[in-house]
Symmetry: C2
Subunit: 257 residues, 2 copies
Amino acid sequence: SKAKVGKMELDSKPHASEKVQQEIIELADEVQNEIDRLNEKAAEEILKIEQKYNNLRKPFFEKRSELMTKIPKFWVTTFVCHPQVSSLLGKRDIDALHYLTRVEVTEFEDNKSAYRIDFYFDKNPYFKNEVLSKEFHLDENGDESTKSTEIKWKFGRDLTKRSIPKLSKASKKRKRPEPESFFTWFTDHPDAGPDELGELIKEDIWPNPLHYFLAPELDDDEGDGDDEDKNKGVEGDDERKGGKVVEGEDDKKNPDG
Amino acid sequence: SKAKVGKMELDSKPHASEKVQQEIIELADEVQNEIDRLNEKAAEEILKIEQKYNNLRKPFFEKRSELMTKIPKFWVTTFVCHPQVSSLLGKRDIDALHYLTRVEVTEFEDNKSAYRIDFYFDKNPYFKNEVLSKEFHLDENGDESTKSTEIKWKFGRDLTKRSIPKLSKASKKRKRPEPESFFTWFTDHPDAGPDELGELIKEDIWPNPLHYFLAPELDDDEGDGDDEDKNKGVEGDDERKGGKVVEGEDDKKNPDG
């Protein structure tokens, strides 16, 4: 802009009375300061409300997580029932996600755009970690960066490697190419853009995971085909068995065979 | 996701006790309802605070607008001093913007993403309108639409038409091609994306127009070259004349010649 303005004539001798004009600018500046003060106070009050409700919500989130660990295959069913997340899951990913017992999203209070997702797993045939985490940060330039747990794969079990030692019968039958493994998501890239899966889990699933777990569009083999409101809940609804359980076709029962 | 899940085996006979599982899901649903209620209450409280501060700010915004109308060439200087907006202005646009006396941004309270910008003009040689407005709306699908004032150009004065009847000396000297006229912005396009200029005015200029009006980087001809905080304000700062006034090189004084 400097270069452009340099080409124009700048008149530094204001018309009329320079003193009067200067006084008006100072008045406008004072009014602007009042507006700035009100903006700050509004932001403070809003932050307080957010913190108050974060605290009020916390025990309910904890209770919810606890209850969900008691529902068999809760998280794998929820992920498979989410249209976009589902499309990111390969068949072997789904098998591994049967061991996912708990998902937690934590937003960092000091920085609105930073958050972490923790995935807690039962002992499983794929990796040794009990928790896989991915942390998201925004720097001052608006660039995203991530920090993920390194997955300690068990021998021959690395799902992010395409070269599968032995194809199962089921895999051979599948025509559709497998998507890149869900677990490649735990690989940090230096200049990653906005994280699609992170946003889906944080914005879409975490506010109401039951909404996907109970999604009626999955009641295929029950054949009731109801399309009532998905948010209705479960009270007094006999047709909702809750837990349209997804059974892996893979070698889960005999994982090391 | 239906198609995909259809390929998997869905086990509708939950393990352990189906009744117990159903009870757990109902409990989780109740907890979810508590979370939803808290979210709603938080949103209501935040909206109330926003409304409260909108009302508190209103008289100051009005006072500020009033004062700015008394500062010669306030808005044209502010626009020219804004790096991105400046790059959208042709020389003849800048001349026309000398007649801009007042800019108002109005956010519609019932719909956060809808807003209107009003530009008030003095009697001028270019168009007959006293106010040019542009309104921005977001529909449910997230698509933007706009509604703008039709500019009633005076004869031969349509700045959006490239064929200029008579080039001024100054124009002939300029090597850089003129950008498309600023005033083409008042033409509505059916599927416009996010409006860059609208966002710049609403998010960047409107919160503090004085910040750009007083921008020290323009003090070229005063030669003081200070790079102190731009937000500092004007109190007791003798070097800030306020109103680094932009003089059009065009035929403003004799507009119909």
